[in-house]
């Protein structure tokens, strides 16, 4: 079986983003970019499934501008076998929406005859948490979202999911779509030899047109602003002072 893993290039999780003065978006020029943390977990899970003999090949895919190839190289350096880069240059007013990405990934999944697609549960830039669910809907495959454990056998996937009330277990017929939660695994670091090896692995470049996917956007970004600042707080010297403030000033006790 082949596993398709979708990865996204995003502003590094440790960067404190700044909103552009013209309010069109956040500053991304000369900001450190990395693979979305949930996507790293997705790549790691695919590799572990392959190493356990449940999959024959791991194909990484991304949709984005030329620089997104770096993210695919990272996936290849971690151990993915090959990659597909769907080239798309972003328009800040009309960003690529999860629905368009899902349509592109559907085309890639069908072309590659993937038996399982693994994605992160959300990208830490747009915080949408949609693409995996949409892909599953478009493919009419079952979905196991927010996965913290995946067990695969020939025809079924058993997925433990992180839900509001605790941990839910579901069983899916393959092919299926799984999205990863933080606690699914600890992604490996790419070693130097593997980074070198990754340079000779194949990245196939295609366009949405090649895949017959029409990208339209039904969302317009009007403005991006800073969240309201909280007013400066005070440092107190004792518990008594805290209790007094909470009772008499903030009136929350």
């Amino acid at each position: 079986m082949k596993i398709l893993v979708a990865v996204k290039r995003v502003v590094d999780y440790a960067v404190k983003v700044r909103v552009r003065p013209d309010r069109t978006g956040v500053e991304t020029a000369s900001v450190k970019m990395s693979m979305n943390p949930f996507c790293e977990i997705a790549v790691e899970e695919a590799l572990r499934l392959r190493e356990a003999g449940a999959a024959a090949e791991v194909v990484a895919a991304t949709v984005g501008p030329a620089q997104s190839a770096d993210t695919l190289r990272t996936a290849l350096a971690m151990g993915a076998d090959r990659a597909v880069h769907v080239l798309h240059d972003p328009d800040p007013q009309r960003p690529l929406l999860p629905l368009a990405v899902a349509k592109i990934l559907r085309a890639v999944a069908l072309q590659e005859k993937a038996g399982l697609v693994i994605l992160g549960k959300q990208a830490i830039d747009d915080d949408c948490n949609q693409t995996g669910q949409m892909l599953a809907g478009l493919l009419n495959w079952p979905q196991g979202t927010f996965a913290s454990k995946v067990i695969l056998d020939k025809e079924k996937a058993t997925v433990e999911r992180e839900v509001d009330g605790g941990i839910e277990t579901i069983c899916l017929d393959l092919p299926a779509v799984i999205t990863t939660d933080l606690r699914l695994n600890q992604p490996r670091y790419a070693t130097l030899p593997n980074i070198m090896k990754a340079k000779s692995k194949v990245i196939k470049k295609v366009t949405p047109e090649d895949l017959n996917v029409d990208i339209r956007s039904d969302m317009e970004v009007l403005e991006v602003t800073e969240p309201p600042k909280r007013k400066a707080g005070v440092i107190l010297s004792s518990v008594d002072e805290l209790l007094d403030k909470l009772k008499n000033e903030a009136r929350v006790l």
Binding site: T145, V221, P227
Partner: protein
Amino acid sequence: MAAMVVGALRRRGAATAGGSRFFAQSLHRFVSTLVVAEHEGGFVKPSSLSALAAAEAIGKENRVSLLLGGSGPSLHKSAEHAASSHPLVSEVLVADSDAFAHPLAEPWAELLRSVQQKGGYSHVIASSTSFGKNLLPRAAALLDVSPVTDVTSVSEPRVFVRPIYAGNALCTVRYTGQDPCMMSIRSTSFSPTEAMSETKVAPITQVDLSFLSEGSSGKSAWVDLKSQDTERPDLANARVVVTGGRGLKSAENFKLLEQLAEKLGAAVGATRAAVDAGFVPNELQVGQTGKIVAPELYMAFGVSGAIQHLAGMRDSKVIVAVNKDADAPIFQVADYGIVADLFEVLDELLKKLPDKK
């Protein structure tokens, strides 16, 4: 369209037929909303009542249908609660089938598609719970529309504000696509309406489930749910939240936090570090990837205040931080801070706070 006019007639009661037809046909601003509600123990969940408040923010003339699914007496008791839960609710739709007894996205998305196709709603709203986040995008893909995640405010019927980059930026978007405009709402941003002033009970209708046979249900099966039984209030809706981070050092020490929570009638939360270290189960995680809370009082003990954690609690009314590191970023958002050993502060608080009334 005919069904819409009938609906409008029924809602407007004494209005003339001509007036209602004008209302339905002339305005693209005419809004009708389907709210996908969750229920538990015979009641609509508070997060779904927040979704009703969001429906009200979309339009005061919004004609709201509330969709409930499941089976058994609890469903029907919840439907009765739903019928009088908000003045805008004009209809309660009940999908009574074992297929909806568990929150599986596959049958639920088919249900949502079917109900939307019959009802032609301009808006569909669910709460950003794990149920809503799992279901709504799948249903949106079936309907070929883009949903909006985690709406925190409604400026116009199709203009919304939502946080991006872990809440470090607010993005205002206009939905320009075809009906329905689908969204999940952040329930802490919409207060459920207080008790209704007049008694109005919406009719309860059974949903036609003939679509189920041809749908994609059957490709997934629910196995079980392991939940932490707790006496304390639900984290997402608690008035007071006390949270521990890595500074708590052990699961054993979290018991101190639980004692404090007991005294304050609070829910207990945790940072990712505390969850990863195994101090508490992961459903207690507050942050970008965990729960979003906005209580009246948020008390953070041994929490450094990473971007991802702040994303989950920065809208709390009053934030208290106790940390021995005076440079911890949590102090930049805290209203009151104490730079001290958290165990000493906890001990003192436990001594000085009265027992819960």
